[in-house]
Symmetry: C2
Subunit: 500 residues, 2 copies
């Protein structure tokens, strides 16, 4: 008897998963190991494997099997039904965009990336204008086609890829709550911060010792170095598949903390990926639940746990052990004050936890207007600068520290930015429930014990894979609907604490 259509689909996806893992390794290597001059060769390899992956995913055979499996879905378990839904979702996304548009997007964004780099270097937005216009034109086509196929409005069709099941209305509700409270909260926090002097942390910290510290912390967190690696790259990232997960960070001799927190962020991603359901590891339902949830796991570890008093307590003896540093500026309370320092920055990637969401709100607002045509590319720099003044009371000096700072739009990534701020909101909501469920959690972290934390996260979040939507997952994990409330409570408690 031949295998059932559903079982045949699982076999097809096993193969797709192997391609997915091979592509991840090719990208990891390109960022970490590859010689500079080999980019053209690697580009051909990635294109060939991606084309083949796309062809396998959109083959008529897959459509036939999906139809037959759905017509015979009785007897399938919950997990299998969810898997079937995710298979269909992947296939719908892949088939909605014609190959000709995919390759035009690839060529156009490759040129736009070069132009963006040069425009940013020269601080000359004009160089980028025709490229962004062309990218925008193609992204509009993509959004329209995706929207048609998925039955969603165009911008929703784009955000759905990164934050599945969170509607633009949900995003607007959450972002409005943040926009209402954050500017005032920042002003109050800065006023309180001005009352406390903070001694400078100077010195040179050898990269080898920084690495040893980071490895020790990652081991404590539970990162499995027998099935994963830590390396260095220009921008920290996480790549690979559970079973071979690779994180990177970037060390700075003059800044002890940036390499550590970079590694904490990526370890958050890695621990999520490692906690995904092992039995479904090569199936769509065994994948992460999208970028917003990925980001929540990274920010929970980097920002909420990493930048806490408990973590400062854990870290203090490690810093003494690795660098021989002592003195008042190395006491836990001083470290903690440094961790949560607030500063109105022009640059998103340098922003702290409190100001960061406003950087995202600006981009979200502008990218919707660019897509709808309400804002023209030529008018983007002024709209950006006005938006920064309104939201963060700082004005960029040019386009390089303004609307040219991020690469996303050059690459055609519209609808991605909201996932960053949603991630912070999700992280805070999980954290509130975590503290309620595990009263001794902060003492555990102060002792460098992370198993209580990850047992909870695995049970409530990681082990669900992509079985439920983000909103269902949050209801399941926290008992509350997804909202900005916990996030604002968390930020107020942390940043409005009166000096003792």
């Amino acid at each position: 008897m031949p295998a059932s259509p559903y079982i045949q689909l699982e076999q097809e996806w096993r193969r797709l998963h192997a391609f997915h893992g091979a592509l991840a390794l090719l990208r990891w290597d390109a960022a970490v190991m590859m010689p500079r001059g080999s980019a053209d060769v690697r580009g051909e390899q990635l294109a060939a494997l991606e084309t083949e992956h796309h062809a396998l995913l959109t083959a008529p055979r897959i459509t036939r099997l999906l139809d037959r499996a759905q017509a015979n879905a009785q007897g399938l378990e919950d997990w299998q039904l969810a898997n079937l839904r995710e298979m269909r979702r992947q296939r719908d996304h892949a088939i909605a965009i014609p190959v000709s548009l995919i390759s035009r997007l690839a060529r156009t964004t490759a040129r736009a990336e070069v132009a963006w780099t040069e425009a940013k270097r020269q601080d000359n937005f004009g160089l980028f204008v025709p490229h962004l216009e062309e990218v925008l034109h193609l992204v509009r086509d993509k959004a329209a086609l995706l929207g048609q196929a998925l039955g969603l409005p165009p911008y929703y069709a784009l955000t759905d890829e990164f934050s599945p099941g969170v509607s633009p209305a949900d995003i607007d509700t959450i972002f409005k709550a943040l926009a209402r409270r954050l500017p005032g909260l920042i002003r109050e926090a800065l006023a309180l911060q001005a009352q406390r002097a903070l001694p400078a942390l100077s010195g040179k910290f050898s990269l080898g010792k920084q690495r040893a510290l980071v490895v020790q912390v990652m081991r404590a967190i539970g990162f499995p170095f027998d099935r994963g690696r830590l390396d260095e790259s220009e921008h920290p990232f996480t790549e690979g598949v559970p079973g071979d997960i690779r994180v990177t960070t970037r060390f700075d001799e003059g800044d002890l903390l940036s390499g550590l927190f970079g590694a904490m962020h990526e370890s958050g991603h890695a621990m999520y990926d490692l906690g995904l359901p092992q039995a479904w590891r090569d199936q769509p339902v065994g994948r992460d639940r999208g970028m917003a949830l990925e980001e929540s796991q990274a920010l929970l570890l980097e920002m909420i746990i990493g930048r806490s008093r408990a973590f400062a307590q854990y870290l203090k003896p490690l810093l003494e052990q690795h660098f021989g540093v002592t003195g008042p500026e190395w006491e836990p309370e001083s470290l903690y004050r440094r961790f949560i320092r607030v500063r109105r920055s022009l640059i998103r990637v340098d922003a702290d936890e409190l100001t960061y969401p406003l950087h995202i709100l600006l981009r979200h607002d502008l990218e919707k207007k660019l897509l709808s045509g309400e804002l023209s590319v030529r008018d983007l720099p002024e709209a950006w600068n006005v938006g920064m003044e309104q939201r963060l009371e700082v004005r960029p000096t040019g386009a390089a520290d303004g609307c040219l700072q991020d690469i996303h739009w050059a690459l055609g990534s519209f609808g991605y930015f909201p996932a960053y701020a949603l991630g912070a909101v999700i992280a805070a909501q999980l954290w509130e429930r975590l503290r309620g469920d595990i009263p001794e959690l902060e003492q555990q972290i102060g002792r460098g014990e992370f198993s209580g934390l990850f047992d909870w996260l695995r049970e409530r979040v990681h082990s669900l894979g992509a079985k439920v939507t983000v909103k269902e997952l949050m209801k399941h994990a926290t008992g509350q609907p997804l909202s900005a409330s916990a996030s604002l409570r968390y930020l107020e408690a942390k940043y409005l604490e009166e000096p003792s």
Copy 2:
């Protein structure tokens, strides 16, 4: 107008080449970077990509296009005709073996490798017997099928993969000449060697400094570090494609020379691959001309050039610069005497240039008898030991330093061994002509100038890719037919030099 069948074939092979490069990177990473526990995940990725590669290569469309292109071959250039022939050859090799036999071989050799490791560790050949019998059974089937498809006798069909166009009769003629002369030559060389005392080279040599020395030598040779890497692995190897070529070596703190000569060997492979015709780099005709020629380029650099007086002269000041070593044992003549030290070894990979071919002759003799059934697996250890005594006057103490020392047969690699000795023969024949054509070659090498060498090799050898057979290539490059004569002249001159 649609592209011609030939042009369509070039497009198909461009895609196959990208798969080939991706597979090379997955293998490189597995040996150099991959965490230990990730082997299962990598195995699935390799299997999926190899299966897909095989499916693309054996698709009916390829056969149709090959037939149509061959029927319309008028107007094709020499290179294109050679490319068509190599395409057909790849496809014939791939299609000759049914997928069921390929996967049985993969499963059987995977188990045999585990059994071989354990049998070698315990020095217990009995553990390996049933596995080698099963592998042999499947390899016989493979050889018969390949032979039918290619119109060759079974063993020829196997050697043809590694030494294309060199017939078993050619191999026999060459190996007989070596077998006749080498045992006596070894005896004479050892007698001469005994007349010269050689001071011991003791000391510890930091791995970082050894690496710096090797990088400097590789730069002098012309290895392009902007399109290639040097790393460390348990066994040195070369992987990748021209444009991203990766060599490894293995450093030993107590042995300054092993890491250097390992890197020289692999750099020989790399320089060959880098010299292949750039215009055909993603086509079959742009590939190397098989393992025997690959090995010739590695041995030419490692053994003939690396272990020469001229290279010792070049190396002396570098050793002083990197390690601060001086004294009589570091003078070029002492270094050279050490480079060419002869020793009757039980282990192939430890053997010197003079005794090495006899290790191969033994394996070649035994694998033919195993395949024909003339020798049973049970009788292999005794046949091995007798063969070692006859050829090298040493007798293994057990199977671990006897017939279990190499992994090749466990992996089903029969017909591969001859390529090692053929490589040495080819290298010596090229060297004889090189010295005739470039009288100042050794002075150049003494100064660390390798461009004269590689200009010649690129013009006469590398740039031909797979356009002609090995025998045609040797005729073209040296004016002489392939034979053992130059090799024996070279070894006699080098190893029978009277003490001055």
